[in-house]
Amino acid sequence: MTAQTIYDIPAAEQERIRQQVLNKIAEMDAAELRVHRQASSSFAEFLSQLAYEIAGLLGYAIAIPLAWAQNVVEGIATGLEDGFTRGMRDQRVSPRRRR
């Protein structure tokens, strides 16, 4: 690439590059959403099992909210997706300097 600034790039080429960047953003978002879903499902399962184990140890009949886990995972699939890109933008980090 020989262009040093955006002003050296013809408008049509700028638009083409913008579209490529948008496509890459869509790929990245899809990957982030997949990670979020997997992590949520994993944690829901872990927490449900842990809750049963601890309730058993306490010897008290605690009702574990089974529907909670399903609702949360479904909520991720529907409601969270709408706000997902906002959340992902907010949690980007700049790399730390080496110590």
Partner: protein, 314 residues
């Protein structure tokens, strides 16, 4: 808003629990909640193996995924040498807590035999959540890896080899090379993308020939360009056992790809927010500003010249 899986879901879980157990004694529910939180806090930290020759970018990959900010070979690591293969194991302080890293040499750096590598790799794979085998995307000479995959790695328990992710770093250097990488959009050229895709297919084919039961995906990325990091992390998470996926995900802190893209190519909602007058100052930025203000003109010019040349640091 920081999206953390465990914290948000835990809050919702306890709300639902208390609503569903309104008649239970408060002390019981408090004890239950405390024990759950304690148990979560004591869940073992993620264990990650990084396999690769010196210079493939193990350290920069670790930093790019977890914002670790330090070299893999740091002083707190313990070194274990068996069969002539040195494995450095140590905690790494990352953005969201500690990660235990097993730093392992690639096949080109060791005089050990393939059998010796096999024994060490089998032991490490049994210990870790995921192993990232990093290869250099521009380097087509992977005969040793190919041979090892075909003859030795396939002997390891398939459940363990499923924990291995093969990742091609430095895709920005794939032919025609760095000049083909778009400096403003931080993307490969069309020719470069074709070559990257071809390399990925090559390596995927080699791995599947050696280990037909392998279910993974070969991923191309660039740690230095922060390119394809979410995709890399997603592939790593696929390789982790389901029970531990949330633990690794909690430590994710990807380097910001969009910082390297000219914001005029970005949609409005992706442009980094400018700091406001009321925003608390970022300490690192303040330190950097102070250092720049105290620099002589000569030193500043030298720094600018070095930035323009943009040497590739691995």
């Amino acid at each position: 808003m920081k999206v953390t899986v465990a914290k948000d879901m835990l809050a919702q879980f306890f709300d639902a629990l208390r609503q569903g157990n309104a008649d239970a004694p408060k002390a019981v529910l408090d004890t239950f909640e405390q024990r759950v939180r304690d148990r979560i806090a004591h869940e073992p930290t993620p264990r990650l193996a990084l396999i690769g020759d010196t210079g493939v970018g193990k350290s920069s990959t670790l930093n790019a995924l977890f914002n670790a900010g330090q070299d893999v070979g740091h002083v707190k690591a313990t070194t274990s040498t068996e069969h002539g293969i040195t494995v450095k194991i140590g905690p790494v302080d990352a953005e969201h807590g500690e990660i235990v890293v097993y730093d392992m040499p690639g096949l080109n750096e060791s005089l050990a035999t393939h059998d010796q590598h096999l024994a060490t790799y089998a032991r490490v794979l049994a210990d870790v959540d995921v192993a990232l085998w990093i290869l250099e995307a521009p380097n087509r000479a992977i005969e040793k890896v190919q041979s090892f995959l075909r003859t030795e790695l396939r002997q390891i328990n398939p459940k363990l080899t499923d924990r291995v992710v093969f990742a091609l770093n430095k895709v920005d250097l794939v032919y025609p090379g760095q000049t083909a990488w778009h400096p403003l959009a931080c993307l490969p050229s069309e020719e470069q993308q074709r070559n990257i895709d071809a390399r990925i297919k090559d390596v995927q084919r080699l791995v599947l020939e050696a280990i037909p039961s392998w279910h993974g995906t070969v991923i191309g990325y660039s740690a230095i360009q922060r390119y394809n990091l979410p995709q890399l992390f997603a592939v790593m998470l696929d390789a982790v056992g389901k029970k531990r996926q949330w633990v690794l995900a909690e430590h994710k802190a990807l380097a910001d790809y969009f910082e390297l893209v000219d914001e005029r190519f970005l949609p409005e909602d992706r442009r980094r927010a400018r700091p406001t007058k009321d925003a608390p100052p970022n300490r690192e930025d303040a330190d950097l500003q102070k250092a720049l203000l105290n620099m002589s003109e000569e030193d500043l010019q030298r720094l600018l010249d070095e930035r323009r040349r943009r040497p590739t640091k691995i």
